[in-house]
């Protein structure tokens, strides 16, 4: 019975195995990015970026149908344009990052909607919006795995400046010119991982597998390495459980995965050992020193 529910779907169906592999790749790449988004107080930036890349993906879809490469390229172009323009404006003018991003992503969204309405076909756009991880083919899976690998390598390269810039930006400016490039590269990684999550989770939920695991991790670890590990593990857990849930019920895969992650998050708020609510209610006696 347990075997039938939890393991059999993956043994019997190739598409389930592919979906699981894709989710693991997405978790490995996206969760660490999510941790940095959270620590840099940019959690909502991920969401704004998801909106910003939507028109690019839609344009790709309109030009060449349901072709992942066209959609990915469109998404990357729109996302990079918005991310870099917003980043440059925030760093050269008085406008803060959030405000500058908001203006650019709204413009991008408006442009995208204009393009879509001019072409007049939006039948399969629901697919773009909500994704379908169960229809993942080999080339798509390879793209997802490739992007996750690139993400981890690049993140390793910019890790130190990214951490130092998060905690003490003025100091980094006095010892290195790497701060701004590292930040822009990080924004690019956000875009890559959002686009990566397209096929599996859809444009709007792609950000969920980045931010929710990061939120979960904050309740279980006090240091950044621990947070990243916990975020990746909880993203994989949510992905696996979400696939099982989706297979056994009629819930689409994307929402199923994010709902499981949300359940884990609520559990973490309640029972997490770093300032979880239950822990705060029963803190134990205070210490001697």
């Amino acid at each position: 019975m347990i075997y039938d529910t939890l393991i059999a779907p993956f043994v019997e169906y190739e598409f389930m195995r592919r979906a699981l592999a894709a989710v693991i790749a997405l978790a490995l790449g996206g969760a660490p990015i999510g941790v940095f988004l959270m620590l840099r107080r940019m959690s909502l930036v991920g969401d704004a970026m998801a909106h910003a890349i939507l028109p690019g993906a839609a344009t790709g879809f309109l030009l060449s149908g349901l072709n992942l490469f066209a959609m990915t390229a469109g998404g990357l172009i729109a996302g990079f344009a918005v991310a870099i323009l917003a980043g440059v404006v925030a760093r050269t003018t008085d406008l803060k990052e959030d405000a500058s991003l908001a203006t650019f992503y709204l413009a991008s969204l408006a442009l995208g909607v204009t393009i879509v309405s001019m072409r007049g076909t939006n039948i399969d756009l629901l697919h773009v919006l909500f994704g379908n991880i169960l229809a993942m083919d080999d080339p798509t899976l390879l793209v997802v795995a490739f992007n996750a690998t690139i993400t981890l390598i690049v993140l390793a390269v910019i890790y130190r400046p990214l951490v130092v810039e998060s905690v003490d930006p003025v100091f980094l400016r006095t010892v290195s010119r790497a701060g701004t490039p590292a930040h822009l590269v990080f924004l690019a990684l956000v875009v890559v991982n959002l686009v990566n999550g397209f096929q599996a989770l859809g444009t709007l939920l792609a950000v969920g597998l980045m931010i929710l695991p990061a939120g979960i991790a904050r309740f279980w670890s006090r240091d950044i390495t621990g947070m990243i590990c916990i975020a990746v593990v909880s993203a994989i857990m949510a992905g696996y459980a979400g696939l099982v849930l989706s297979f056994q019920t009629r819930i689409p895969s994307g929402p199923a995965i994010i709902l499981v992650a949300a359940a884990l998050y609520i559990g973490s708020i309640l029972f997490g050992n770093v300032r979880g609510l239950v822990r705060q209610m029963f803190p134990g006696r205070h210490l001697e020193a």
């Binding site: 130092v164 905690v167 003490d168 100091f171 010892v175």
Partner: protein, 252 residues
């Protein structure tokens, strides 16, 4: 090589309004210079110009053969995200940036140096605490430990003894004197005139520009301090573009 800093008719400011107006002068290598003046006199602005995070509106700050990495800077209100999950050890370790850069490892030797720096500021035993758990004085000690590790030829300290107790400021002052003994150039913005008179041989008194610059006893006279206090603090929105080259007291 001598690490001298030269100000050539430097004007620093914000939105074209000068906060430091037509400053000329030179900081000799190995100098121990106190920068004093009322709030808003331009001390922090001058320091930002020296470390290169604020570009002069006109004029030039010549650093000679100094690379920007040769200048260690301790800002007045460090924009540190104290909620960030980083340990005291790792934070202080970033002071080794020049050796480690992006990617270099922290080896045995470096670990020893970090431990030593923490010991010199009296923070041994704090290595694995996250920075958010430190008190104000401990935070300042930790920042000094990082400056120690930066091993810079020029050290710029913006009001380093603000809001720290007597014991901490005495400990940190001892570090400043040690840097001076090691021939490093030290610039410190300070408000405690007694402390300046007792410890700093050279003083620059500022009020939007130079009021007096030289040996501390000659600079910190009653007349000079009174003159510095008279300067006007507010920007004049309708100020005309400055064409006068030789009247630093007509600040904006």
């Amino acid at each position: 090589m001598a690490a001298r800093l030269q100000f050539r008719d430097v004007t620093l400011g914000y939105d074209r309004h000068p906060a430091v107006h037509h400053l000329n002068g030179e900081v000799a290598p190995g100098a121990l210079l106190a920068v004093v003046g009322p709030n808003g006199a331009g001390k922090s602005t001058l320091f930002r110009g020296i470390v290169g995070i604020l570009k002069p509106l006109s004029g030039k700050i010549v650093a000679g053969d100094l690379d920007f990495r040769d200048i260690a800077y301790l800002p007045q209100t460090a924009e540190i995200d104290r909620s960030f999950p980083i340990s005291v050890f790792d934070f202080v370790g970033t002071g080794l940036w020049r050796q480690t850069g992006f990617f270099g490892g922290i080896g045995k030797e470096a670990r020893k140096r970090i431990a030593l720096a923490l010991a010199s500021v009296g923070l041994s035993g704090f290595e694995s605490r996250t920075i958010g758990t430190l008190s104000g004085g401990q935070m300042q000690r930790m920042l000094f430990a990082r400056v120690l590790l930066q091993d810079a030829r020029v050290v710029v300290l913006d009001e380093p003894f603000n809001a720290v107790d007597a014991k901490t400021s005495a400990d940190l002052l001892a570090l400043v004197k040690r840097w001076h003994a090691e021939q490093r150039t030290v610039l410190a913005a300070l408000h405690d005139m007694e402390l300046v008179r007792a410890n700093f041989p050279e003083t620059l008194l500022m009020a939007r520009g130079e009021v007096a610059w030289g040996a501390t006893a000659e600079v910190l006279t009653v007349e000079n301090l009174a003159q510095a206090r008279r300067m006007c603090e507010a920007f004049d929105d309708s100020a005309a573009a400055c064409v006068v080259e030789d009247s630093p007291s007509q600040a904006a």
